[in-house]
């Protein structure tokens, strides 16, 4: 098992280095995307700041808590984009039939198409984001247990995000469409930029249980605020595991539908 993990880490490192080299070769494009991502963060952060200046609480949460929800969303969003950027390049691979070349290689095809192109632009933004999350997290004065729950649920959030990306990949095979599917995932998760309580029913239930955006993003932040008990943590972990299981089943089903078109 350890040997296998080592092998896959080595492959990931090699693929990521290649991907970084390509992006670094286009310095202008790298700068434009980096500026764009920073601007997007600053604009929404600024919006929340000015909104909360005029209205000190939102859905019962203080300004620092709302900002912490937003930072937790960004942390999960940016790290998953950094790891799973290759998902955005999957459609051409399916349409051209180049996915055949992945299938014949002696490594997991899912690993290759999921993690084959880490994004250096997102990597650059991760350290300042972690710093901001720790800074605003500390302002909430969490207990040791709340922090532990937060880290645990954050890991569970990444697990759910991984499952989402696997489902997007499977959809790409079944429908030959991935561009909008991945963007719909992004739009859905962006509903978690703010506490899930702002949404009315049945949207709130839909976002909590059916499409577990609430468990993925809102719950870790709420755990940090001491609002989640051990039963909530257990349910969240269970949902995470079930979601990954379902996504893997769907991926295996999708593989049986791959027609190797155009190859």
């Amino acid at each position: 098992m350890v040997k296998k993990l080592k092998k896959y880490f080595k492959i990931w490192w090699m693929m990521s280095r290649n991907s970084f080299t390509v992006v670094i070769g286009q310095k202008l494009a790298l700068s434009v995307f980096l500026i764009g991502k920073i601007f997007r963060f600053v604009f929404f952060f600024g919006f929340l700041y000015f909104l909360l200046l005029g209205n000190s609480t939102l859905a019962g949460y203080t300004s620092n808590q709302i900002i912490f929800f937003f930072l937790t969303f960004n942390l999960i969003d940016v790290i998953t984009q950094f790891l799973f950027r290759e998902v955005y390049n999957f459609r051409p691979m399916i349409i051209n039939g180049d996915f055949d070349l992945v299938l014949v290689k002696p490594i997991s095809a899912l690993f290759r198409v999921l993690m084959g192109g880490a994004d250096i632009v997102d990597l650059i933004t991760i350290p300042p984001l972690i710093f901001l999350t720790i800074y605003f997290g500390a302002l909430l004065h969490p207990s040791f247990l709340s922090t532990l729950y937060y880290v645990l649920l954050l890991a569970n959030g990444f697990l759910i995000a991984t499952a989402f990306h696997i489902i997007v990949l499977a959809f790409a095979i079944v429908t030959l469409e991935v561009d909008h599917t991945v963007m719909i995932y992004r739009d859905l998760t962006s509903l978690g930029r703010l506490p899930i309580e702002i949404y009315g029913q049945p949207l709130q239930a839909f976002l909590t249980y059916l499409i577990p955006v609430g468990i993925m993003i809102s719950l870790p932040a709420k755990a940090m605020m001491g609002l989640v008990g051990p039963s909530g943590i257990l349910i969240a972990l269970l949902v995470g595991i079930v979601f990954v299981f379902v996504s893997l089943k769907f991926w295996n089903y999708a593989l049986t539908k791959y027609s190797s078109a155009s190859s």
Partner: protein, 267 residues
Amino acid sequence: MRKYWSIFKISFEQEFAYRLNFILWRVRNVFQILLTYFLWSTVFSNPQTQIFGYDRTKIITYVFGIMIVRALVLSARAMDVSTDIAQGDLSNYLLKPLSYFKYWFTRDISSKALNLIFATVEFAVLFIILKPPFFFQGNPVALLAFTLAIVLAIFIYFFLLFLISSIPFWAPEIGWGSHFLVTVVIIEALSGSLFPINILPLGLQSIVMATPFPYLIYFPVEVYLGNIGGGALIGGLMIAAAWTGVLWFSLKFVWQKGLKVYQAIGR
């Protein structure tokens, strides 16, 4: 005129060739509106709340107004121009007896027509489900000014898109990057799609209002709501018209310069 009518029809039908693509694009728009709607709905959960010059009815009308104005102003195809330039496909159009600008403007109008139809249906469905309070503008002057603001916004966006799409004449590798920066990030935030500009402090508001971006969404919706009238309305329309002129002349200048360096790479 007949050839542009044909382009309009072909472009309209082309959208239906990728039906799932289009439907998913519309679904995305609905999600964005839901986030904005529920956010403002929570902020104004108390019907007596009055902040940033809005009451509950007006802010919800603002959110629903965004749906229609976005479909009219921000639905466009002209971002594909950058690919034409970067891949050398522009040469095909330069040889044809048609105006390249008019070709894309016609395609934009076709896209707007289709998106408007869908946005109207979504508007109706969300209106029935959410039953929001809505402000109906009955003043003919405000409605006329709103129409004029929309027309100017359509031209401003078209010229902006073309200007950004001209960047690949000099830097083909940042075609999508420049669209991401300007249309996805800057326009999304500073046009008023994400939040009404008047939640910003006065100094920042003045800076943003001096740019062309708020005249795309924020200004037309505010005109509809009747929040801008009299001298401010005339002033706003004049600034929008000035930006239309400035962007048109800038585009003509940049396009001529671009064509001189165009090498039809990839052809």
